[in-house]
Subunit: 243 residues, 2 copies
């Protein structure tokens, strides 16, 4: 039985990985991932074999991991954030159907929702939805239905992949949908480059968010009707009385 | 300026904390938290002062942390999972309004949603909602509206606090609401005691989940229309073709 660890390395800083993630990489012969993330960890695991595939080559990356494991190597497949949130864990199980002799162990990590929330304050304290605005693998109609449902039920909403070169106006579209049910004054926040060089956080209203330019390294937080700004932090109360 | 770290210690195992969380506790004079979680970390931080308050004494716990910091101590306020997900981060900002001389730093951790997902397989790979079934601080009508919205928009749903002594039939009620829009055959899963002694995971259908007894140490996952069972793991595909 060969072994592949599927590891969430967290937002990017070495000290935001878990001990378990570090141990798994230390125990591995090969570390495989998307080029950008392999570059983030390379210096901490000298002597390991590193292999990368570019974006949109995710299936190839999974096959590579299983083929390397087949040779008898212990393999780490690394993902930014948590491997199970828009990460590689799911695809590894799907591709793994063809490799029944390989055992998968998923090692969780800090995802951008919670890593970014910690920078902004405490926006996700209560019920929230995580929605990716990327329509590469999901029809936009489905994303739209989810945005509307989340807004109507007064969820806090955290948006992944809010923008890209081809989708420069998606955040604007999402904010317009949100404003069908949420007040334009709803407290929102953005965090870019979480726990990495150039980290930047901003708290603003939903109306202001609509006209803000974000990039693919930004995570967006849209509050619920109770979310407030406290000393420039974005805070959603959980509902304790007498505070 | 005194300092309080608000720290997510993850699901419970020492090696599922981040390096940053461990460093912050090492740098602290006092570690404060709910009794059960302080007991989990006590042995790893000898020489620290430990202080606890019981459940439902959350406001007192925050005040205690600020009062200790006021004495010049560096304080860690610890929470299980992530401090910003149904944790103490929000309340600390709210209470902190009365302590402007104290700086808060939130240190994210692995929350039960991602920790439990890693045990079950990859249920949260795509858009999901996190909903707590506890109506201690939230009206049940609001929880109900969120459950229905989440089911209707085909989100994967992760339920926190699915049960307690007083709320023994809440999971059943939630499943009945889900079945208004989700098929009774929807793949679901439960994980108890994530990363702790007695960890247990089960994959089942929504219909079966409805009649399953869970306790307050269980996290529940309800799939979307695409979620499938692969070798007894709960896997939500992200949508890659040709797999």
């Amino acid at each position: 039985m060969s072994k592949i660890y599927v590891i969430g390395i967290g937002p990017g800083a070495y000290d935001q990985m878990t001990g378990k993630a570090i141990r798994a990489m230390n125990e591995s012969d090969a570390i495989i991932g998307y080029t950008v993330y392999v570059d983030l960890v390379k210096e901490y695991f000298p002597g390991k074999e590193f292999m990368t595939t570019p974006m949109k080559k995710e299936v190839d990356r999974c096959v590579l991991a299983f083929e390397e494991a087949k040779k008898g190597k212990t393999v780490s497949m690394i993902c930014s954030g948590d491997a199970g949130v828009y990460g590689m864990a799911g695809l590894m199980y799907e591709v793994g159907v063809n490799y029944p002799e390989t055992e998968l162990e998923i090692i969780p990590g800090v995802t951008a929702a919670t890593g970014g929330a910690a920078v902004l304050g405490a926006p996700l304290i209560h019920d929230f939805c995580l929605i990716s605005l990327s329509d590469l693998l999901t029809p936009w109609e489905k994303i739209e239905a989810r945005l509307l449902a989340a807004a109507q039920a007064d969820f806090v909403v955290c948006l992944y992949n809010p923008s890209s070169k081809k989708r420069h106006d998606y955040l604007q579209k999402a904010c317009d949908l949100m404003m069908k049910y949420k007040s334009p004054d709803t407290i929102c926040g953005t965090v870019s480059n979480i726990a990495r060089e150039g980290q930047e956080a901003h708290v603003m209203t939903l109306k202001e968010l609509r006209d803000t330019q974000v990039d693919m390294f930004t995570t967006v937080f849209i509050g619920n009707s109770q979310t407030k700004e406290i000393n420039n932090k974005m805070v959603t109360p959980r509902g304790y009385r007498n505070v």
